[in-house]
Symmetry: C2
């Protein structure tokens, strides 16, 4: 089994991508399954094979501990880690080639508290990778691009997994897509765009950080996809294969 963790900010398209990846693998003859790790989600775009909501009940937590929505959400996310044995058992019963893990809606509860890293470290799998979603609609300025790139890097350090950076909603952002891809591949272009937009302090901070990120190999390789049109899925699958299958493509 190979495991793919799908993460990104709330609304960036995690659940939809999980569903589309499942479709993509199935169509290409691989056995894929989806694990939902979000205890607070109401409706999912797919039928999950394993569902954390079977073990962690958000509404009961609110009632039982007399918590408000915030407190219950934090507690529900923290509780995921304590359910690792049940999750592992259910995953083993399904035993897919590819396990796609749809992570909680609010990424900070998963990434910056202990449960996310615990699940990632303790779920038994041959290979593991992470897909981080850059929400295309959020990246409306070069400084916002750098901000999300910093968040992605922060989460990559927390989760400690090989990471593929994906730009979602490529069908919604028109000409901006070309700009964003230039920013992600050409440091000079990005610096010029930032210079036009910002004052001296922000420019100095941003460009210095950028040089660090770029030296770390970060800015390269952002893959644009659309969950709606399916654009970019072949590239995404290729990037996953290089990590998960040591270069072998999914059979088709």
């Amino acid at each position: 089994m190979k495991t793919i963790f799908v993460s990104g900010t709330a609304g960036s398209g995690k659940s939809l991508l999980s569903s589309k990846l499942h479709e993509y693998y199935t169509k290409n003859g691989a056995f894929a399954a989806v694990l939902n790790l979000d205890p607070g989600v109401e409706n999912l775009a797919y039928t999950c094979d394993v569902d954390v909501r079977d073990y962690v009940d958000y509404v009961s937590i609110m009632q039982q501990y007399d918590l408000g929505p915030n407190g219950a959400m934090v507690m529900a996310n923290d509780l995921i880690a304590s359910k690792i044995d049940e999750i592992q058992n259910d995953v083993n019963k399904v035993n897919p080639d590819y396990l796609i893990v749809d992570t909680p809606g609010q990424i900070e509860l998963f990434a910056y508290r202990s449960s996310g890293r615990f699940i990632i470290e303790n779920l038994t799998s041959e290979e593991k990778t992470s897909i981080f979603l850059f929400d295309g609609v959020l990246i409306n300025t070069p400084v916002n691009f750098v901000s999300i790139a910093l968040l992605a890097t922060s989460i990559r350090l927390r989760l400690n997994l090989p990471t593929i950076n994906v730009l979602t909603k490529s069908d919604l952002i028109g000409d901006k897509l070309k700009d964003i891809l230039q920013w992600s591949t050409n440091l000079k272009t990005l610096e010029n765009a930032i210079a036009k937009e910002t004052d001296g302090d922000t420019y100095a901070l941003t460009t210095n950080i950028l040089r660090g990120l770029n030296l770390g190999g970060f800015a390269q390789g952002l893959i644009p996809i659309s969950n709606v049109t399916g654009d970019g899925f072949v590239n995404l699958e290729g990037a996953m294969s290089r990590i998960l299958n040591l270069g072998e493509e999914v059979e088709d």
Copy 2:
């Protein structure tokens, strides 16, 4: 009026710090008020002077739009922006010297969606500053320190405010406090600590980023505080004064 936005990850101590800052200013003869911007909080450590829950009702949103807890939380946070006139009116009625703004529990809903920046830009105030909380308990390794520093920088770029970085829970972390303060002031110490903890790839990525952050003046000036013992408040107030009052201290 000067405005102080208190932000940080869920559980980092935002509400408690807001309450303690209010106490601190009051004790020193200034007129401070607290604005709660979190629509999903149940119990607060303080009496708010202005409360977004008076305009945005999380439970009604769940029922009215048939949303689960995640969806309702996203929508409630997005709705904050539409209530700017009501919030501004109520703030004007109170008219404090210092307005302390306790931001939503999950920082990503505030910082990476549009409402946070909108509120920050549109709330009328003489001066504005942001305090970002590094949760002392989360920073248990040098890589986790860098991860939170990246998050802080990301949010600083999104919110576009002069920012004071504060380390909370200094009373809970014992000897670790000394390590963290060394990491935050001495790049070489931090790089050595990371080298001991990580493999080659993470080390290369982390140290390159660090150099960028450091050039951007980031790593300096982390102020340790304890909301419990009150340690560090004098330093925090000094840092705020330098931004808000152009160097004048609060009268006492």
